[in-house]
């Protein structure tokens, strides 16, 4: 049966329909979940999309993490359900403490909107399951606060525990260790700054994002992936 992907919509999210279009194109069912909802029943995977939740006021993701839906997202994560935060969604997951580290303003203080080349690292998380390490993918970025930052201790632990999901081939924003995306230790929660949904059709210049989204859908369709929430 096709996986159902719950896409959380905060006030200011602006990539939810792009994600819905991309996962639908891969055979999944998309369901938009408003941030005031407190239930993710029937959802096999959760995506926190890009945008500017709550206007990015205070810090990106700082207010969104207290939305009612986030309690359900935390339960879904604790139960092992696959969750991916893209761009602003990555910032929300870090603020919520579901992923380690934080995202700072880009080193050059430029808003970056460009295609980048990614290199996959881990092949065990929900976004790269079955994707061979060192696979190269062309996917766009579109952010101002995407410089991944964490303490040296946390960075060493991420490397050691295979929690680095993708790196930039050429670091565009100053991220520590060229990190473009990380997972939690279990691998079921992933955040990344690049937008795989914007590389989901040759019309968009690249279909490489489908490699990642297809892996998410495979994980979501696995029995027991979200028996859970």
């Amino acid at each position: 049966m096709a996986a159902t992907v719950g896409i959380v919509v905060f006030p200011g999210s602006n990539c939810e329909h792009d994600v819905a279009e991309a996962v639908t194109g891969l055979g999944a069912t998309a369901r938009l979940v408003f941030h005031k909802e407190n239930c993710l029943d029937g959802v096999d995977a959760v995506v926190l999309p890009g945008g500017f939740a709550h206007g990015d006021y205070l810090r990106p993701g700082a207010i969104a993490r207290f939305s009612p839906v986030m309690a359900a997202v935390e339960r879904f994560a604790a139960a092992g359900g696959p969750i991916v935060g893209i761009c602003n969604g990555f910032q929300v997951l870090c603020e919520a403490g579901l992923l380690p580290g934080a995202l700072q303003k880009n080193r050059g203080l430029a808003f970056l909107c460009q295609e980048v080349e990614l290199v996959t690292v881990s092949s065990r998380c929900c976004l790269t399951d079955g994707v061979p390490a060192t696979t190269r993918l062309r996917v766009p970025i579109n952010h101002f606060e995407g410089c991944y930052t964490a303490s040296d201790v946390v960075l060493a632990a991420l490397e050691e525990r295979d929690q680095v999901v993708v790196r930039y081939a050429t670091n565009p924003n100053g991220s520590a260790n060229d990190i473009a995306g990380v997972s939690n230790e279990a691998g079921n929660v992933v955040g990344l700054m690049p937008h795989p949904e914007r590389a989901s059709h040759e019309m968009l210049g690249s279909e490489d994002g489908n490699v990642l989204l297809a892996a998410l859908l495979r994980t979501a369709s696995r029995p027991g992936a979200a028996a859970l929430a």
Partner: protein, 85 residues
Amino acid sequence: MAVFEVLVEVTLRPGIADPQGATVERSLPLLGVRSVSGVRVGKAIRLRVDAAGEAEAHRVVVDLCARFLTNPVIEDATVTVLTAG
């Protein structure tokens, strides 16, 4: 109960790169200023707290800083109770 005005100053933690501060600092020679260094850009948040005393007002805001007003991964906060209103 009294109303206390509180100032929260949020700064990036020591060792965390501050591209805004660095950019401001680099621009200073354009103004002919060469005696200023160590520029760090943060933010200030002012708020009012209903509390029984200054210590309680301070405690409430410190708790808010830890849970919401700062990201402890990259930011520190200094909390100053300014006035009892």
